[in-house]
């Protein structure tokens, strides 16, 4: 029986022969790395394919690599209820073009996950219906999970009530 990695690899290469997928496996978790411009079509395929049916988007988050060429990775964790398998999708995002296409049209729950990622890392999601901050106040100017943001924050950036 084909493993999950072999199966996914075969299906993706059959459907998207022109896209370069880097598929890796670590402790039975399969991670797929590809170009960010293909994110919507790949996600759409993974969700709508009869055999795969990755219908649940568990989380969307990002990694700040600080010193790497492409500074950020946006990570999507998706789950197939039919096969009881998980996938992680990764796309690299550079600081000069800090945006990814939104997948909220595919999974509705991606709406808030993407807002959270925007709030914490400042990565914008194109075609997002309502890209506002999630946790921090609207007028806050910084992105706290960036590696260059100080742990205790920037004094005076968050207003306190008058004593």
């Amino acid at each position: 029986m084909a493993t999950l990695k072999e199966n996914i690899s075969f299906k993706l290469k059959e459907k998207f022969p022109e896209i370069n997928f880097e598929i890796s496996e670590f402790r039975e978790e399969v991670t797929i790395l590809f170009n960010k411009k293909n994110i919507v079509e790949v996600c759409h395929f993974l969700k709508e394919d009869e055999e795969l049916q990755y219908k649940l988007c568990e989380d969307i988050t990002a990694i700040d690599w600080a010193k790497r060429g492409d500074r950020y990775s946006v990570v999507y964790h998706i789950f197939s209820l039919k096969n009881n398998t998980r996938l992680a999708l990764k796309v690299n995002v550079d600081e000069s073009d800090c945006s990814v296409d939104s997948v909220s049209s595919i999974w509705r729950t991606a709406n808030w996950h993407e807002r959270e990622t925007y709030d914490m890392y400042g990565i914008t999601f194109n075609n997002h219906p309502d890209l506002r901050r999630m946790y921090m106040p609207e007028e806050f100017e910084y992105y706290p999970l960036k590696k260059d943001f100080p742990l205790l924050g920037i004094p005076g950036s968050l207003p306190l009530p008058k004593k």
Partner: protein
């Protein structure tokens, strides 16, 4: 017991207006339970029959600030929440007191982070700090007793904006 035995002898007793106001204030401190996180569970425990905050006259937890004398801030106050806490505090009628319950409220505690206020005394006047993470109910009761002592030391007329009734001297002709 005490008071009623005296009263049956003479039918009245004399005291100072400050003393009677202090005495009634400190024995009926109505708390505003500002429960924000896990400290609130211990605050609720202080209200149950085992620890029984009613022994100190503070069982009337009002969930509206307009009927409260004491705000027990129990939990982690974030910068976003600080405006809400202050707004509720501002709605409480004078005289009013604040207990900062637990490490987070008093100093930010283990949340040494950009989002958490490192001690609510940055925007509220705090009367008693309670140590612990979370503090046990006995610890909160101890804070209440400390606060009662503090209220007992305060002169009723130190709160200038509160009008005390004019007392007329009854002349016996």
């Amino acid at each position: 017991m005490g008071l009623e035995a005296k009263l049956t002898q003479d039918g009245f007793f004399t005291t100072k207006i400050d003393a009677i106001i202090e005495w009634s204030r400190k024995n009926s401190v109505w708390p505003m339970p500002m429960g924000i996180s896990c400290c609130a569970i211990e605050m609720m425990a202080a209200g149950d029959p085992k620890y029984d905050i009613a022994r100190f006259g503070s069982e009337v937890m009002r969930f509206t600030p307009r009927q409260c004398d004491l705000m027990i801030v129990a939990g982690t106050v974030t910068y976003k929440m600080s405006h809400v806490v202050r707004k509720i505090y501002d709605q409480m009628p004078d005289p009013k007191w604040v207990i900062a319950m637990g490490a987070c409220t008093s100093s930010g505690g283990m949340y040494r982070s950009y989002s958490v206020v490192q001690g609510i005394d940055q925007f509220l006047p705090v009367d008693v700090y309670v140590a612990g993470c979370p503090p046990r109910p006995d610890n909160l009761l101890n804070a209440l007793i400390q606060l009662q002592e503090k209220i007992g030391r305060t002169k009723a007329r130190e709160f200038g904006d509160i009008k005390l009734p004019e007392l007329t001297v009854i002349q016996n002709n």
